[in-house]
Symmetry: C2
Subunit: 388 residues, 2 copies
DNA sequence: GAGTTATGTTTATGTCCACAACATTTACTC
DNA sequence: GAGTAAATGTTGTGGACATAAACATAACTC
């Protein structure tokens, strides 16, 4: 009789490990995979054969050699295996078609003139998917990952509160699955940004990373602990913008006083630089090239507050890397030494040693890669269950 | 030929899972273990036989029955398997002999009249161990776990900074191993307290827990995430006492201004209650029974600050339980509603729902159980490597 | 005492992987 | 250009482990 149980579990774990390696590190030879996983070469032959059989991988002739030894075909992930990334924002809905090989095949941006409802976003999404029908037919779409600017009940696929979109307690995953026939996973946008930075960005390979992103609507955060995204009990973790760091009556978007988000705002910086919202992309250059005196004062004050928040994070989490995105990256570039001093003044010495504060890679594509990563997760966890 | 590799790994994982279940949940029958692990009954028979063979478990006759079905011998962890817990504090060194079955067999408290050096603590420890030689000969000591009131490089077994003991960059694990011949593991005391609360205390079974302990020397913290102790990059994580929450010139023990520890102190509470340090154990009752007006004001202010810090932790980590120990538990008992309101004012609504703020169990024994748990970890991870 | 229920035990079977020996293909050396 | 070293792929064998199924055992129920 069939012996399921453990043998299957072992196989699943090994297939998962191999596919993950290919996903994270890119193409490599079987021998390299065998060493990385600690399996035997003959075992790896069988595992790769399985992945090829499942339509998830393929072997190609090796490129240039230069080393002795028998040349080894290179195992690639099949680029037709894709996920759809969805990112609803205030001004536009962005959809991306992202391959398991990491390529962003297509980005579609659909601007709207007013903030959309959930129903409208769902409708636009399914319209775009309908338009892509021919393209998708030639591919293998494993799921949809959604980056939501707000707090998300990840397990249930429900948007609890996305203040800038005005969404509260809106089921999202279930209706989108209904419309698309695809599995849908949701997460907070900054959390996915953190994950993408950790996996593919400036914090690559760092197992303990904190990501802070500053945008028009506030400050979002995401935390990677031991290589995994920190979700907390319900998936709401990482809201570093809303921690109180000072005694101040200023309120943030959630109505909390004295928080990082209330004290460090892009709007104030833009105003001090004489820019308006529409020219926000010039903030970084304006700040670096002879900014007016008032802007200097604002930037210095904001850096001090940013330092306090980062210090709190360092004391609590003892991370290796703090990645700053959006206008927080501009603040960092403006005076990294000042930020370092402010952080040093509010951290315990052992905790802060070795911590690097770096700008995030921050290409908009990275967020799509993060959302797609969310959709790829079930496939990476159990490749064998994705038989065609 | 021998097939090591995977088969061994599977066995190791299964043995580990079974021993962990016994350690955490206490004695249970084989059938229960089989269901809990998802293994087959015949597999469990073999696994339990291995544990018995290794001298780690034993089967005893079932107690009262009352249910139909064949009576099942109950699998117990062998109580002779023990670890030694060590906790150096300012006023005394506490050693505990803790069984794998959870019983605290013996507690030895050695008071000193001045703060000891590392060498003195090591010397006292080995003296106590020498005195216990006969007792220990009948047992099986798997290691020593040390709870240090300060920041610890867990991997290296080095105390980086224990301000109240005046220790800086002191190797501890290596010399104690040298003296005792036993493996030694170090961790921060509050971190071990958090772990013990999560495993055996008031936060039992909660996978996301934050522990805050208030003592004479300040406020320590520990964080449990997804059932595991959060160490961070080097093991320094959890220093919640040192996060800045207000604009205040008050400095804490690390010289940082406006932190939880600088604003919420036992000394100030005691002074307002007209007590001195030596009567600290009466703080809780004094606070609950008609305290003088100034003490009320102090308690209210401290509760507000405590609320800000807890709120920051909730926003960042989205935990299920906040366990408060020491005088923080007294503050909680004094006015739980006020604390709730302060927390609510500084948290995002979704994150705070379902969070319970509870007093920690806080028996001094729990810390010893935590330190012993640290020492048991290698055994629980790979029981087969502990063949006699 | 017959039936029910829950558990322990025995035996046969299947899966997966490691290992070892051999095959293949390249680069390097003289 | 022949021989050697290095790296990898391939094949067959064996072993460890876990499952499944049938049977055995010991309580409870009526």
């Amino acid at each position: 009789m069939a012996s399921r149980g453990t043998a299957e579990e072992v196989r699943r774990a090994n297939l998962s490990a191999v596919l993950r390696l290919l996903y994270v590190n890119g193409p490599s030879s079987r021998a390299v995979l065998a060493r990385a996983t600690g399996r035997n070469r003959s075992t790896m032959a069988s595992l790769v054969a399985d992945l090829v059989e499942l339509g998830l991988a393929e072997e190609r002739d090796p490129a240039a050699l230069g080393v002795a030894g028998r040349p080894s075909p290179v195992v690639h992930v099949r680029p037709e295996v894709v996920a759809i990334a969805v990112n609803p924002e205030i001004d536009a809905l962005t959809l991306g078609l992202v391959g398991l090989d990491g390529t962003v095949r297509r980005v579609i941006r659909h601007a709207y003139d007013r903030i959309p409802s959930v129903a409208e976003v769902l409708s636009i999404t399914s319209a775009v998917l309908a338009g892509m029908e021919v393209e998708l037919a030639a591919l293998r779409v494993v799921g949809i990952g959604v980056a939501v600017p707000g707090q998300v009940q990840t397990a249930e696929g429900v948007v609890r509160n996305a203040p800038h979109l005005g969404w509260r307690d809106e089921p999202f995953a279930a209706p989108l699955t209904e419309l698309s026939g695809l599995p849908v996973a949701l997460a907070n946008d900054a959390a996915l940004g953190a994950w993408a930075e950790h996996r593919f960005g400036s914090g690559r390979g760092q197992d303990h990373l904190v990501y802070l992103n500053g945008g028009a609507s506030g400050i979002g955060g995401g935390v990677i602990i031991a290589g995994a995204l920190l979700g907390g009990t319900s998936g709401y973790a990482g809201e570093i913008g809303h921690i109180r760091i000072a005694s101040s009556p200023a309120l943030d978007s959630a109505g909390i006083a004295g928080t990082l988000e209330s004290l460090v705002t892009r709007a104030e910086l833009l105003a001090a630089l004489g820019l308006d919202e529409s020219s926000a992309d010039r903030l970084a250059t304006a700040l670096l090239h002879t900014p007016p005196q008032p802007a200097l004062a604002v930037a210095h004050r904001q850096l001090a507050h940013l330092g306090s928040a980062i210090a709190a994070v360092i004391n609590i989490l003892n991370p290796q890397v703090i990645a700053l995105g959006g206008f927080l990256a501009a603040l960092l570039a403006f005076d990294p030494d000042l930020l370092d001093r402010e952080v040093a003044a509010a951290t315990l010495a052992p905790s802060r040693e070795g911590v690097r504060i770096v700008p995030a890679d921050l290409s908009d594509r990275l967020l799509l890669v993060g959302a797609a990563g969310l959709a790829f997760e079930p496939l990476l966890r159990d490749p064998a269950s994705f038989a065609r």
